[in-house]
Structures are given as C-alpha cells and as structure tokens.
C-alpha cells in the first residue's frame, strides 16, 4: 500500500489542497476508508507497492505541476495560482493553470500610451494650442492626461481579466471585450477531442506564443484560446488531463 494514506498537511496553499484532494480521490477509488489505524501504521512502514492499474510511477497532472509552481499574479503562465477563484468554480475543482495573452500582443496600446504621455512635451516645439489663454492651455494638458490614464487603465484591465483557466475538470475562457461586454465560455476536459496549436509569424516564433484550438463534442464545437505563451506546454497539459480523465473513467471515479 503506498503511503498516500498518510495524512497530508492541511495548510491553506493550493498545493496542500491538491494533495488533500488527491488523497480523497484515491480513497474513493479504493472504495473504502482505511479500517484500522494500526494497519495503516504497519503498512506505511512496508516498502512501496505499485497500486493496481495505476503503475508504479503514476503522477497526476496536478501533482506534477506542483513542482513547476510559480507565484506572480502578473505572470502570463501562472501554474496553480494561489487564492484565485472564479465564479462558477465547483467546491473541489482545482485551478491548474491560469493563462493570459502574451504581453507582446499588447504592444500596440503600450506604444500608443507612450506616445500619448510624451505628446504634451512636443507642444514646446509645436505650439498648436498657443492661441488659447494660458488657463485653457493648462486644462487642455490636464484633460489630455485624463484621457491617457483612462486609456491605459481600460486596456490594462481588459488584458488582465481576459484569462484562460485550466482546471482539473474543464477549460474556461473569460473575456471582457471592452468595459461593457463579458463572455465566459467553457469546455469540459471529457468533451475535448483534438487539441492543436498554431504559432506562425516572426513575433510568435520569437516570443513563443500562439493559439490553442480544441475540437469539442459539446454544443460549441470549437474552442480557441488565443495568443497564449508556450502553447506547446498548454497542449501537453491538456493532453495529460484528457488521459487522466480517461483513466478516472476506467477506475470508476465519477464527479
């Protein structure tokens, strides 16, 4: 009996939650709780035996990702993000990866914002508002910077909250096209049939980002996540999750 029955720490981190969940999963698969504490102690001292049907080196996707965990909230490829939750998340659902569009796709508005910031300085050489009284000139510059701040803020939050979430059960695309339009679409891992990625063009090749496309058996037959960093890694994780789901079906686990 492997030592997966040994009590895991109950810390509030997501890795702790993952471990706890995994231990629960295996118990369900086995179909019973450990009957006697003494048996547990005796078995834990025995050398590890492969679990039937699971192989000696069976590691779930969540377990594997724990080793690659990174913490920054601004990262575009955020593995097992701490404290992050989404509105339709189920109680035992674990967010494995949180993706944002690559920063390179945001370069156009970043450059525009830079130009907007520097524009009033050019008035020293090109005095296009010099015909106005000085108080109106001051107000014109202030209004310009108000517009610049609003532009940068709106673009930033639209990028920041446009996320792709991969959980152990599904893929979710949260998209805010602008300040007034929100779209949340999802596909269950079970329903994903084919996963492909595209990475064409100089910028995409240089900065390693691209689109991931999924063919699903659900109502919405195509599911696309655009401009994500390291698309090959995303595809790998999705394929592993598909295998894991199939394995769980074989083992009889249904959630």
């Amino acid at each position: 009996m492997p030592n997966i029955f040994v009590a895991h720490s109950t810390d509030s981190t997501s890795s702790g939650q993952v471990k706890k969940k995994l231990s629960t999963k295996v118990r369900k698969r086995e179909g019973s709780e450990l009957p006697f504490a003494s048996l547990q102690a005796a078995e834990s001292s025995e050398p590890k035996q492969p679990k039937p049907g699971m192989g000696h080196e069976y590691v779930t996707v969540a377990e594997r990702l724990v080793k690659q965990k990174n913490g920054s909230k601004l990262k575009m490829f955020n593995i097992l993000p701490r404290k992050v939750k989404f509105e339709t998340q189920e109680a035992k659902e674990v967010i494995l990866v949180l993706l944002r569009q690559h920063w390179m796709t945001q370069i156009s508005w970043i450059v525009t914002a830079g130009v907007m910031v520097l524009m009033p300085i050019s008035l020293v050489w090109i005095p296009i508002i010099s015909f106005m009284p000085s108080n109106f000139q001051v107000m014109a510059v202030m209004m310009w910077y108000l517009l610049t701040i609003a532009f940068v803020y709106e673009k930033f939050i639209t990028w920041f909250y446009h996320v792709f979430i991969i959980t152990d059960e599904r893929v979710i695309d949260v998209d805010f096209y602008n300040l007034l339009y929100k779209e949340v679409s999802e596909a269950k891992i079970d329903n994903i049939e084919d996963v492909t990625y595209r990475q064409g063009g100089v910028a995409r090749a240089m900065f390693n980002y691209g689109d991931v496309e999924m063919q699903t058996a659900g109502e919405r037959q195509e599911f696309k996540i655009e401009n994500v960093p390291e698309p090959h890694r995303v595809v790998k994780i999705l394929n592993e999750l598909k295998l894991e789901e199939e394995h769980e079906k074989i083992m009889g686990r249904v959630r």
């Binding site: 993000p81 989404f86 209004m143 108000l146 300040l179």
Partner: protein, 82 residues
C-alpha cells in the same frame, strides 16, 4: 419675410455667443462625462473581480476609485482656474 425668417434674423442679429463661456462649458461637460466614465469603470472592475477573485482586485478597485477622485479634483480645478 415669414415670421420664422424674422425670428432667425432676430436671433442672428441679437444673440452673440460668448466663446469663453462656451469653451468653459465644454471643458466642464467633458470632465463630467469623464466622471460618469469612471463610475462605469468602477462598476466594471467590481464585475470583473466577482468573475475572478484573488488577482489584484483590491489594487485595481483602488486605482478605479483614484481615477474617479482625479476626475473630481480636475473638475474643481477647472471651476477655479477657468
């Protein structure tokens, strides 16, 4: 000359637009609309934070409130200096 033509003629001859007040009104209207925009932004940040929690929502809500405060400050400055 119809009564309507007479009215138009009267308006053109007697009604003079003060460019200063027009410009001041335009600036104040712009800042007021900006203030309304910041309210929409604040509401939207709240909606976004409810959709996904745990990702800088406090900081972004604070930034939205600062944006709204900035609009109020600029409105007051406009009232004073114009």
């Amino acid at each position: 000359m119809t009564p309507f033509d007479k009215l138009l003629d009267y308006l053109i001859k007697t009604w003079q637009i003060d460019l200063f007040w027009l410009a001041k009104g335009g600036v104040l209207l712009f800042i007021f609309l900006y203030f309304l925009f910041t309210l929409v932004v604040l509401r939207q940040v709240k909606t976004m934070s409810e959709t996904i929690t745990g990702v800088l929502e406090k900081e972004l809500t604070l930034a939205a409130k600062l944006l709204m405060g900035l609009a109020i400050v600029v409105f007051l400055i406009a009232l004073i200096i114009l």
